[in-house]
């Protein structure tokens, strides 16, 4: 990006003069003349300066200063530091060069430390993955116009995933301060407009005090459920200019923010329904915000001895808990009380939808089943993008953060349970435990077909990866291909063993978001592992350079099925309906001829690469070699030529 020229504006020069500038003014005309008059020997062959040049370079310095001792950028860094933000994930841009330099030299590149990303979408997705493991947002920085458009897809994913991200963009608001060319192309009247539909809040501060208050407000809003990305537009003049009076600026504090908790009366009503039910079920999606979330849900389920269906938006419930009924649709269909905890799509959980020429749907829940929603999802929806899903009528809609509301619900349930019903509860729990075990055995049996085949079956791939990591403190932070084998077969039991999916279904999420999660896991010494599709990989392969450069350990497995396979199946479905040929649907849906060698790509970015591996017998040893690299603190990639699903 081009450097901005010194502004010749007289009023601005006067302002700078009054702001304690040093530098060029200290250079006396005599000294300057002496420097010009004594050229170094090696330059003697150069043409001597003409009279015009001599006059220009020997005249006393103008009124425009050339150095400064303070800047708005420094104050902006103070504000960010006050929020305890660990990293700033950035793609550098001239429109925020003022704060960029402050972060490095004034902020000493710590709290936040800069993480260089070769694409804005990588930066946002890293922040998304990080926040879901760490619980805290990162700052993401980019150009206001051309950078934010790159970032927009990842922001949409973060919005749908209800994840906090602190976006800061550069902009030059004063038209007369913009240099000709790029600075006009990269400025906007309202730069946040292009992503406002998927922001919780944004502002473009007009003063440093305004910046401080808006940044702290943005942080507070982003991290209060329902969480979502926020954006602050940083005016370039505000970043770059000296501060007239630092002492007059105040950084507000965030204070203790308490998540909104459900109404006690409503909680008591729900407890009554649950206790009276013969077969209640809890369906959860983005419920667990903190490690306590899983603990609270386990306590409630065990108190009731009821089934839990975890849709996997977060690590809500241990995969092998006897009450986990996630892969048994009957657990929902046969329930008499269905409680949706932080569900985005309640309708989809209690209805069947068939994608045929005539699209049909029908309710699958037991007639007369009572339905209750508990969560904050309904309190942050917007009109344009339809991520709020189909409307589901419920008997009781309780507003309040699911995780924060669970302890009171559990206590209310405990108070209401009649000791005489305890044996009935225990019998229910035993039945569910047997069903859960049967579900696990069924998954194991299903995994056996094609176990030794090449290309490698997805079940084999998943279990080879599990075998490699199971004795480590592992954290699986991505599976992007509809691959549910890990959730069917792995033993997920820690709050960080899973962190959900992309949110908006925008591909290009898995690689960078996994790296963000790996960054969060790094300080805990956890082993981060992800299994991402080849289609997904190709959206943001530069992520690997960030992994190598910042030495972020991560075991990344590419499920290389040479296709955008979901789309492959959809186009095949169209071709079947139209009855005019099904053999060419690989056109536009596959990634072959040539096949991409992802291990070589990885090595090009400075990352250890293994593969391509198509022989299942070779996969385990390759994963072990990659694991050794990851345990040494480096990222590694394993390219596995695999079956479609």
């Amino acid at each position: 990006m081009p450097k901005r020229r010194n502004s010749p504006d007289v009023a601005r020069r006067n302002f700078l003069k009054s702001a304690g500038l040093v530098g060029a003014a200290a250079l006396t005309p005599a000294a300057a003349t002496a420097q010009i008059a004594a050229p170094r020997a090696e330059l003697q062959k150069a043409l001597p300066p003409g009279p015009k040049q001599i006059a220009l370079e020997t005249q006393p310095p103008g009124k425009d200063p050339v150095t400064q001792t303070s800047s708005g950028g420094d104050f902006m860094v103070d504000v960010i530091k006050s929020l305890g933000i660990e990293y700033a994930v950035i793609n550098c841009a001239s429109s925020y060069r003022g704060i960029h330099e402050s972060l490095i030299n004034y902020g000493k590149n710590t709290m936040p430390e800069l993480i260089t990303c070769p694409h804005e979408e990588i930066a946002v997705h890293m922040a998304q993955g990080f926040a879901k493991i760490d619980g805290k947002p990162l700052v993401m920085m980019c150009h206001g116009v051309v950078g934010l458009q790159h970032a927009s897809m990842a922001l949409y994913n973060s919005w749908c995933d209800r994840v906090p991200v602190m976006v800061m963009i550069g902009n030059i608001t004063e038209a007369d301060k913009r240099a000709p060319g790029a600075e006009w192309l990269h400025s906007a009247l309202d730069p946040a407009a292009i992503v406002r539909d998927f922001l919780k809040w944004d502002d473009q501060p007009q003063s440093l005090q305004h910046y401080a208050e808006s940044t702290v407000r943005a942080y507070k809003l982003a991290t209060t459920p329902p969480m979502a990305p926020v954006l602050i537009s940083l005016d370039a003049e505000l970043q770059e200019n000296p501060i007239a009076d630092r002492e007059s600026l105040r950084i507000p504090k965030v204070g203790k923010v308490v998540p909104p908790q459900a109404d006690s009366g409503a909680i008591a009503e729900l407890a009554k329904m649950l206790v009276a039910a013969d077969n209640p079920v809890l369906i959860c999606d983005r419920l667990a915000r903190t490690p306590d979330g899983m603990k609270h849900l386990v306590e409630l389920a065990e108190t009731l001895q009821c089934g839990v269906v975890d849709l996997g938006g977060r690590m809500n419930f241990p995969s092998r808990h006897p009450l986990n009924q996630s892969f048994r649709r009957a657990a929902v269909d046969q329930a008499d009380v269905i409680v949706g905890l932080e569900l985005n799509d309640f309708w989809g959980s209690v209805n069947s939808f068939t994608d045929r020429i005539v699209r049909t749907s029908h309710p699958t829940a037991k007639p007369g089943a009572k339905m209750v929603s508990l969560g904050t999802r309904d309190y942050l929806i917007k009109s344009n993008f339809q991520d709020f899903a189909r409307y589901q009528d419920v008997d009781l809609a309780i507003g309040g953060d699911g995780e924060a509301s669970l302890p009171e619900l559990t206590e209310a349930v405990k108070r209401l349970i009649d000791p005489s019903r305890k044996s009935a509860y225990e019998a229910r729990g035993k039945k569910l435990a047997a069903a859960q075990l049967a579900s696990l055995e069924q998954a194991r049996a299903a995994a056996t077909t094609g176990w030794d085949a090449s290309p490698i079956s997805v079940a084999r791939l998943s279990m080879e990866v599990y075998n490699t990591v199971k004795d480590e403190d592992w954290s699986l932070v991505g599976t992007s291909t509809g691959n549910n084998w890990p959730r069917r077969l792995w033993d997920f039991k820690t709050p960080y063993s899973w962190n959900g999916g992309s949110g908006g279904g925008g591909i290009g999420y898995t690689l960078p978001a996994s790296l963000g999660a790996a960054l969060a896991n790094k300080k805990h010494g956890r082993l981060t592992v992800a299994i991402g599709g080849d289609g997904d990989f190709n959206f943001a392969p530069g992520t690997l350079w960030t992994a190598a450069h910042h030495r972020i350990p991560m075991l990344y497995v590419v499920l290389n099925n040479h296709a955008y396979h979901q789309e492959y199946m959809y186009v095949l479905a169209m071709a079947g309906r139209r009855n005019r040929g099904v053999t060419d649907v690989d056109i536009g849906t596959t990634l072959k001829d040539p096949n991409i060698d992802y291990a070589t790509v990885a090595r090009g970015f400075g990352v250890h690469g293994e593969g391509p591996i198509s022989d299942p017998a070779e996969l385990g040893p390759a994963l072990q070699r990659a694991l050794a690299v990851v345990k040494s603190g480096q990222p590694a990639l394993v390219d596995v030529v695999s079956e479609p699903r």
Binding site: V332, P455, M574
Partner: protein
């Protein structure tokens, strides 16, 4: 963009076979080699896997290796499928192709018992 599935527990596709002939050996003679070619060329593998191990499309798709589905039920599912499977009518898949695919599926081995695979017992 991908369409999200309504529920992770989306069930295994159930085929209505109760009223149909129940014996696999009643299938017409088929050429397994041609069946393999058609199975791969016509995209059957996209949902059911190259070795009939099953897959995932709006929920889990059935394993087809050594299918126990009688041939007539198999053919009916091709011509007038239940749920979301696309139809494969005679214009794109002849009766002989169907028989060949069926023969190919019978050659595909089932997996060893899960208890004999250490990785499935972790």
């Amino acid at each position: 963009m991908k369409r999200s599935f309504a529920l992770v527990a989306a069930g295994i596709v159930a085929l209505s076979v109760a009223d149909l002939p129940a014996r696999a050996q009643d299938a017409p003679p088929g050429n397994a080699a041609n069946g393999k070619r058609v199975y791969l060329a016509d995209g059957c593998f996209t949902c059911h896997g190259r070795v009939g191990e099953g897959g995932n499309y709006y929920g889990v798709t059935p394993t087809l290796a050594k299918t126990q589905l009688p041939f007539e039920a198999f053919k009916q599912q091709l011509r007038d499928p239940a749920r979301v499977m696309p139809p494969f009518e005679t214009a794109v898949l002849t009766d002989q192709d169907a028989a060949d695919i069926y023969a190919f599926l019978q050659t595909l081995p089932l997996g060893r018992p899960a208890k004999d695979i250490p990785l499935l017992n972790n």
